[in-house]
Amino acid sequence: MATVAVPPNKASSRRKGPWRHPWGLEAFTWIYLIWSIVPIGIAVLFSFNRGKSQSAFQGLSLRWYTGTSQAFGSVMHDPILHSAVVQTLKLGFFVTLITIPLGVGFAIGIDRWRGRTSNGLNLVMIFSFVVPELLLAVALMFVFLQLLKFVHLGTDAETAALIVWNISWPAIIVRARLVTIGKVYEEAAADLGASRFSAMWRVLLPLLIPAIFASAVLTFASVVDDFVLVEQLSGPGSQTMSVLIYSQAHGGNNGPALNALATLMLVFSLVVAGLGYVAYRFMTRGERGSTTEALTSIAGI
C-alpha cells in the first residue's frame, strides 16, 4: 500500500472517506418514497371526509362507510358498492382455492418430469406470466363467446380467466423453492423406506408449505387487485371493486364513497399481507434467514 503514490489532488476525496454515506442518494430515495406513499394516505383520508368533496378536506366522519343516507351511498348500505365488495372477496377466495393446487402440482410435476413436453408446458406457463393482460382478456372473451359457450360471461368466465392468469405465481415460486430444496430429503425418505407418494406427501410437501403459502397470499392479492380480465369478462352483477372504481372514478365527482371502497380494498390487502408475513416467519422459523427474506418472499421476489 505504501508504495502506491497518491497524487495530491486525490487527497481531498480521501479525506471525505471512501465509504462515506451517500446523503444525496438517501434524500432521493426518501423523495421517491414520499411520492409513492403520501398520495395514497391522502386518498384514505378523503374516505373519512365529512363533506362530499374528494379534493378538499372538511372534517372527519364515517358516513361513506356506514352512512344510511339515500342520496349518497355508503359502502355498507349502497347495494352496488356492497355487492362489489362481496364479489371481490368471493373471486379472491375461490380463485386462490383452485389456483394453488393446480399450480403446485404443475410445479412439482414439471420439475420432476423432464422431457420435451414438460419443457414446452413450462414455456407456456412463463408466457402466461409475461403476456399483456389485455391481449389475454381479448382472446378469452372470444373463446367464451365463440367456442366454449357454456362458460357464461360473469363469475364463471372471470374465475377461469383469473386462474390461468395467476397460475404462474405458485408455479414459479414453488419451482424456485424445489430447486433450493434439491432431491436429498426425498432420497433420504426413500432410503428409509418411504414410497414415492409418501415421500412427496410427508417430506416434500411440508418443506414446500412456506412457498405454497407465499404464493397463495400473492394470488389472493393479485385477484383482489385484478382489473383488466374482470372488466372484459364481467357480466351483469359481477362487478368487482376495481371495476367499480374504474367505471366511476373519472372526473372525480362521485363522492368519497369510492375512496372508502378503495380503502377497504387496501385494508384487505394489508391484512392478507400482514398475516402472510407473520405466518411465513412462523413457518420458516427454524431456517437461516431474516426479516428481509420473509418480506421478499411474500412480495414474490
Binding site: P18, Y32, S55, I108, W113, S118, L134, A221, Y246, L266
Partner: protein, 345 residues
C-alpha cells in the same frame, strides 16, 4: 434462501455401478450400520427403483394445471387468430371465426390497413409514451434500488417495507389517489397557486387530456414492479466484487460504472420488460387520467373496438398484430429467465 445441504454421495451417484444387491432387513433385527461402500450400492439400487416406478406419476401431477393452461391460454390465442382471420356475418355484422387455417382470410387485417390513418397516431403515441415512461421509471428506480441494496444498512427492513407497500395497494386506488390530487380544485393546483407558479384565475386542468399526466400515471403505476425487480437483481451482485474494485483503486463512480452497471445489465433488461409489456397493453391509466381522443393509445383502440359488434373482428386483428409485435421481446424475456433458472439448478 437457505442453501440445500449437499449430499456426500451426490458426485458418486452418476458413476455406473455394478450389480447392487438389494438390502433386505430381517424384521425385528436392529439394522447394522453397513460400511460406506455397501451404502453406496444401496443408494444406486434405490436409483434403479426410482427409474422403474411409473413415469406418469409426475406427469399426472402436472396435468390438471397443464390442462387449464392449454384450454384457457393456448386455445384462446388460436381462437383470437381465427376470429381475426375470419369473416363478418353479412346479416348480423358480427364476427364469424374461421377454424380451418387454410381458409383464413385477410379481410380484417386489410381493414386495419385501410384505417391506418386512424390507427397510426395511437400506435406512435403508445411507443412514445411507453418509451418515455419506462426510461423515466428506470432513472428513478435504479438509484432507489441501488441505495437500498448497498447503503440501507440496519434500516433495510424499513426501506423494504416502504418499497413493497405500493405493491399491496390496488392499482385503481393509486390512480384514484392522483385523480383526487390532480382535480382542478385539487391539492396539486392549490400547491402551485401557493407557490405562485400558476394563477388562481386560470387553473390547469390536469385530467383534461395532458400527455404528461398519462405518462406520469404510467410511471406511478408500474414503477413499484420495476423497483422490486431491480432490488432483487442488485442484491444478488456480490459485494466483494465492489470492494475489490475499490481496493484496486477505482473511485465510487468508476466502480459503479464499470462493475455495478455491467453486472446489472440483465436485471435492467428484465425490469424493462416487466414494465414495458403491461404499459403497451394499458388502457385504463389513460382512460382514468385523460379519457380524451388526443391521448388514446393502442390499448384504448382495441378495447373500444371490442364494444362494437361489427368492429370486433378488427379488434381481434389489432390484438393479433400487437401480439406478433410483442412476441420478440416476450421470447427474449422467457429465454433469459429460463436460462437464469437453468443456471440455478
Amino acid at each position: 434462501m437457505p442453501a440445500a445441504p449437499v449430499a456426500p454421495t451426490a458426485t458418486l451417484r452418476s458413476r455406473p455401478d455394478g450389480v447392487a444387491p438389494e438390502t433386505s432387513r430381517a424384521p425385528g433385527q436392529a439394522p447394522r450400520k453397513p460400511p460406506l461402500r455397501e451404502r453406496m450400492r444401496a443408494r444406486s439400487a434405490q436409483d434403479r427403483i426410482e427409474s422403474w416406478r411409473p413415469r406418469w406419476f409426475w406427469a399426472a401431477l402436472a396435468i390438471p394445471g397443464a390442462f387449464w393452461l392449454i384450454v384457457f391460454f393456448v386455445l384462446p390465442f388460436y381462437v383470437v387468430i381465427s376470429v381475426a382471420a375470419g369473416i363478418l356475418d353479412p346479416i348480423f355484422q358480427s364476427p364469424v371465426p374461421v377454424w380451418n387455417p387454410f381458409l383464413w382470410s385477410a379481410s380484417n387485417f386489410a381493414n386495419l390497413l385501410r384505417e391506418v390513418s386512424f390507427l397510426w397516431p395511437p400506435f406512435l403515441r403508445t411507443i412514445a409514451y411507453t418509451a418515455i415512461a419506462s426510461a423515466l421509471s428506470l432513472a428513478i428506480a435504479y438509484p432507489v434500488a441501488y441505495f437500498v441494496t448497498r447503503y440501507a444498512g440496519k434500516r433495510k427492513t424499513l426501506y423494504l417495507v416502504l418499497l413493497i407497500s405500493p405493491f399491496w395497494v390496488s392499482y385503481m386506488m393509486r390512480m384514484l389517489a392522483w385523480i383526487d390530487l390532480l382535480q382542478v380544485s385539487g391539492y396539486v393546483n392549490k400547491t402551485l397557486e401557493w407557490l405562485h407558479l400558476m394563477s388562481a384565475k386560470n387553473p390547469e386542468s390536469w385530467l383534461g387530456g395532458h400527455p404528461a399526466t398519462v405518462i406520469f400515471g404510467l410511471i406511478y403505476g408500474y414503477i413499484p414492479y420495476l423497483i422490486i425487480v431491480l432490488y432483487a437483481g442488485l442484491d444478488r451482485i456480490d459485494g466483494r466484487l465492489l470492494e475489490a474494485s475499490r481496493d484496486l483503486g477505482l473511485g465510487r463512480w468508476r466502480t459503479f460504472w464499470r462493475v455495478t452497471v455491467p453486472l446489472s445489465r440483465q436485471t435492467v433488461l428484465a425490469g424493462m420488460f416487466i414494465t414495458v409489456l403491461p404499459m403497451v397493453g394499458d388502457y385504463f391509466t389513460n382512460q382514468l387520467l385523460s379519457a380524451t381522443r388526443s391521448t388514446t393509445m393502442i390499448g384504448n383502440v382495441i378495447e373500444g373496438q371490442l364494444d362494437v359488434a361489427n368492429l370486433q373482428g378488427d379488434g381481434a386483428a389489432a390484438s393479433v398484430v400487437l401480439l406478433v409485435l410483442l412476441l420478440l421481446p416476450m421470447i427474449y424475456y422467457v429465454r433469459s429467465t429460463t436460462k437464469a433458472s437453468r443456471e440455478n439448478l
